[in-house]
């Protein structure tokens, strides 16, 4: 079962949440950010080349122009491969674990998988971010040896930063699965 809904992030940009229910105990949430816009790319390139041309007229050295082209290309490739995250996915599988994937604009994917033993809870927390107070979804981890202590807090959807309405939907689904998992778990 697949559903797609549109939300907004904390800065007002549009986000698309894609929910997939593979089975009663396996759900996936994908948040897609808007792609790199041609307008901003053209603006940055023009700014860099204007500065380079200005330096060239001062120094009369043509190396500056080729260096500017080189820097622009390398900078763009670096930005696409290391910085621009297109889609973030949260896959929650009952009795197996939670997996978070970030896909970058160049196609690179970075995945983290957390086993269900280590997951204590999924909560929505508040934070002060610059001049705003924002909500974010995070996973609380516990050490299997010390089940009553929180060992780590892992925030989810860090680059997309959706607003509270989107977070509440994801939170409700996750809590359903976690409640089901706690009810049927064999370990004390």
């Amino acid at each position: 079962m697949e559903e797609e809904k549109s939300f907004s992030d904390i800065c007002g940009g549009r986000l698309a949440l894609r929910r997939r229910y593979y089975s009663p105990y396996c759900r996936e949430f994908g948040l897609s950010s808007p792609r790199l816009s041609l307008r901003s790319l053209t603006a940055v390139t023009c700014a860099v080349w204007l500065v380079a041309y200005g330096l060239f007229t001062l120094c009369e050295n043509s190396m500056i122009l080729s260096a500017a082209i080189f820097i622009t290309i390398i900078g763009l490739l670096g930005y696409l491969h290391f910085v621009k995250i297109d889609q973030e996915t949260l896959l929650i599988i009952d009795s197996l674990g939670i997996q978070m994937t970030s896909s970058y604009a160049s196609g690179k994917e970075s995945t983290t998988f957390i086993e269900m033993d280590k997951v204590k809870d999924v909560i929505i927390n508040e934070a002060i971010y610059m001049q705003k107070v924002i909500y974010y979804l995070c996973i609380l981890l516990k050490d299997p040896g010390k089940p009553h202590e929180i060992s780590q807090v892992v925030p989810v959807f860090q680059s997309a930063k959706p607003r509270l309405d989107c977070l509440i939907e994801v939170y409700r689904s996750c809590q359903e699965i976690l409640a089901h998992q706690k009810a049927t778990s064999t370990s004390p």
Partner: protein, 578 residues
């Protein structure tokens, strides 16, 4: 709870048979290792499993049945398979079935409880690549400083158990389809064991080679550890030269590589491999440098350039001292002290120049022989370069020591006389400043001395400043060379190459991908290995370096400079191992 069945992708096309594997009750998961085909005798299957259990400590058992219906469904096979459940009793009993024409499987897990009515459970299928899982080493995510990566401990739970199970069941994978054994198994090696002739030859040759190299290296280390070297001044020179330190470091590495003991753990194996690759790269780069140096008579050019450069440096120092003896930067110096210090240092430079001119006929020979040592490795050549720089700038070091000692004395004298000026005294017993009543003549002489020292302070401070800056410049150059040597010594190139070419060998964890779904059918997932990021690889497998890092923080360095204490930032730590 949902039952998780880990199924190897290589058995997905195997014929019908029995599922052989391990059942992990804590996680409700069944790890299927192989499929045993018909015909078989149940007693022989049980014997084989008992043998495997004894050899590998893995509790393998018959977990269920696997049915691959290539033709139209046969009823008799269905009943036969159900009958097997009675012979090999296992709770729960899995029944996996794959039909022709559809990608989706049907799975059933039956629990036979004491009450008699069997209950069924939902099954989740997770496919895994057996070969990759067998060859990979799982690195725990929270790497504690005292815990070594690559050593899987059973208590780390879930995934580590599965990696362990597959890795330790190698005994089961030794029977392939060409064996004349009683039971026919299907697993990743059932087409025949894969091996490489070169690897086998290398393994055979490594024994005698290791013995030979180990004996040679033990001779070398015995020679270097003999009592002759402990005599002064040899021991003193040895502790100051970074070349000796680097040679000893390399000797330790080589004796570790060629030790006749087998590697106990994957971590040790990786360390040996990293050291070997690092030594080989070092020697290769050194030979490259050697061939470059000896071509076009570069050594001769270098030797011819060396003496004029040393002369030039001395000349510049003389100019500097003349400038200091005049009115440097418009400051007015105390003429008498200025002349004394200036002449003292000028005489030193004169001595140094004569020494260099004395050595000049031999320089080319020395350089030629020293250049040969580059075949021991680029790091040795760089250490020799650092030592040559230290020797050539020895006069700067001497000037720095003189300037610093003078300045230090002056500062201590000033602080003590300042206390006297205010009527206080340093109490050594109580380690604090106490008031004290002085006599009139003590006060008089003390104040006179204080005034003299205060007015001589700018001169001494200026000399100290100039020579300290020169010394810091030399230390910076030496430090950069040492950093480069450290980098070559400690970079784990083999691990980085492995991460580049065979990323599944170094696993940080796993990742799951949901395969095509159909309502009513069990959930199918594909489990792949998530490789370790490059930064973690470097951090985990770094080789221990010489330890030539500056021990001071910036604050203590500034404090030492202000008070005129001597700084030794590159003092080597003695025998500091990991």
């Amino acid at each position: 709870m949902v039952l998780k069945a880990f199924f190897p992708t290589c058995c997905a096309s195997a014929d019908s048979g029995l599922l052989v594997g391990r059942w992990i009750p804590e996680q409700n998961s069944a790890v299927i290792l192989a499929v045993a085909h018909f015909p078989f005798i149940p007693i022989q299957v049980k014997e084989l499993l008992a043998q495997v259990h004894k050899a590998s400590q893995v509790q393998v058992a018959v977990l269920g049945t696997w049915c691959h219906r290539r033709q139209e469904p046969e009823e008799s096979l269905g009943h036969f398979l159900e009958g097997l459940g009675a012979i090999f009793s296992h709770d729960p009993w899995l029944q996996l079935c794959r039909e022709r024409g559809t990608r989706f499987w049907s799975c059933k897990a039956t629990y036979h409880q004491l009450q008699g009515t069997p209950t069924e459970d939902q099954v989740m299928l997770i496919f895994y690549d057996q070969r990759k899982l067998l060859l990979s080493w799982l690195h725990p995510p929270t790497a504690l400083p005292d815990c070594q990566a690559g050593e899987t401990t059973a208590s780390t739970g879930g995934l580590a158990d599965i990696f362990d199970t597959v890795a330790h069941s190698e005994v089961l994978f030794r029977n392939d389809q060409f064996d004349e054994g009683p039971v026919r198994l299907s697993h990743w090696q059932s087409e025949g064991m894969e091996a490489s002739i070169l690897v086998e030859l290398a393994k055979q040759a490594s024994g005698p080679v290791c013995l030979l190299m180990a004996s040679l290296l033990s001779l070398l280390s015995a020679a270097s550890a003999c009592r002759l070297w402990k005599l002064w001044p040899l021991a003193f020179i040895r502790s100051k030269l970074s070349t000796c330190e680097q040679l000893q470091h390399r000797l330790k590495h080589l004796s570790f590589i060629f030790s006749t003991q087998k590697a106990q753990s994957p971590m040790q194996l990786m360390r040996k491999a990293n050291m070997l690759v690092s030594v080989l790269l070092d020697v290769a780069l050194g030979l490259l440098l050697l061939s470059w140096l000896h071509s076009n008579n570069r050594i001769g050019q270098l030797a011819n350039a060396l003496v004029p450069v040393a002369d030039r440096v001395a000349e510049e120092l003389q100019h500097l001292l003349q400038w200091l003896m005049g009115a440097p930067a418009g400051l007015k110096m105390n003429r008498a002290l200025d002349q004394v210090l200036g002449r003292f240092f000028l005489y030193h430079i004169h001595l140094w120049i004569s020494y260099i001119h004395l050595m000049s006929p031999f320089i080319e020979h020395i350089l030629w022989h020293v250049g040969l040592s580059a075949c021991l490795g680029l790091t040795v050549a760089l250490s020799i370069l650092s030592d040559i720089i230290a020797l050539l700038t020895f006069h700067i070091y001497c000037f720095y020591v003189y300037g610093a000692r003078l300045y230090c004395l002056k500062i201590y004298g000033l602080s003590s006389l300042w206390r006297l000026f205010r009527g206080k005294k340093w109490n050594v017993l109580r380690q604090r400043v106490d008031s004290c009543s002085y006599d009139l003549d003590q006060l008089f002489i003390g104040t006179l001395l204080f005034t003299i020292l205060v007015f001589l302070l700018p001169t001494t401070a200026l000399y100290y400043l100039v020579f300290t800056l020169l010394r810091l410049l030399v230390i910076t150059v030496q430090g950069l060379i040492h950093l480069l040597v450290d980098l070559i010594n400690s970079l784990p190139l083999y691990s980085l190459g492995l991460r580049l070419c065979r990323p599944y060998r170094l696993a940080a964890g796993v990742k799951f991908r949901v395969l095509e779904q159909e309502a009513g059918r069990p959930l199918r997932l594909l489990m792949q290995i998530n490789p370790l990021p490059y930064s973690h690889v470097v951090h985990t497998y770094r080789l221990p370096s010489c330890g030539c890092h500056p021990k001071h923080s910036w604050g203590s360095l500034c404090r030492k400079l202000f008070f005129g204490e001597l700084i030794y930032p590159w003092r080597q730590r003695e025998d500091k191992q990991d």
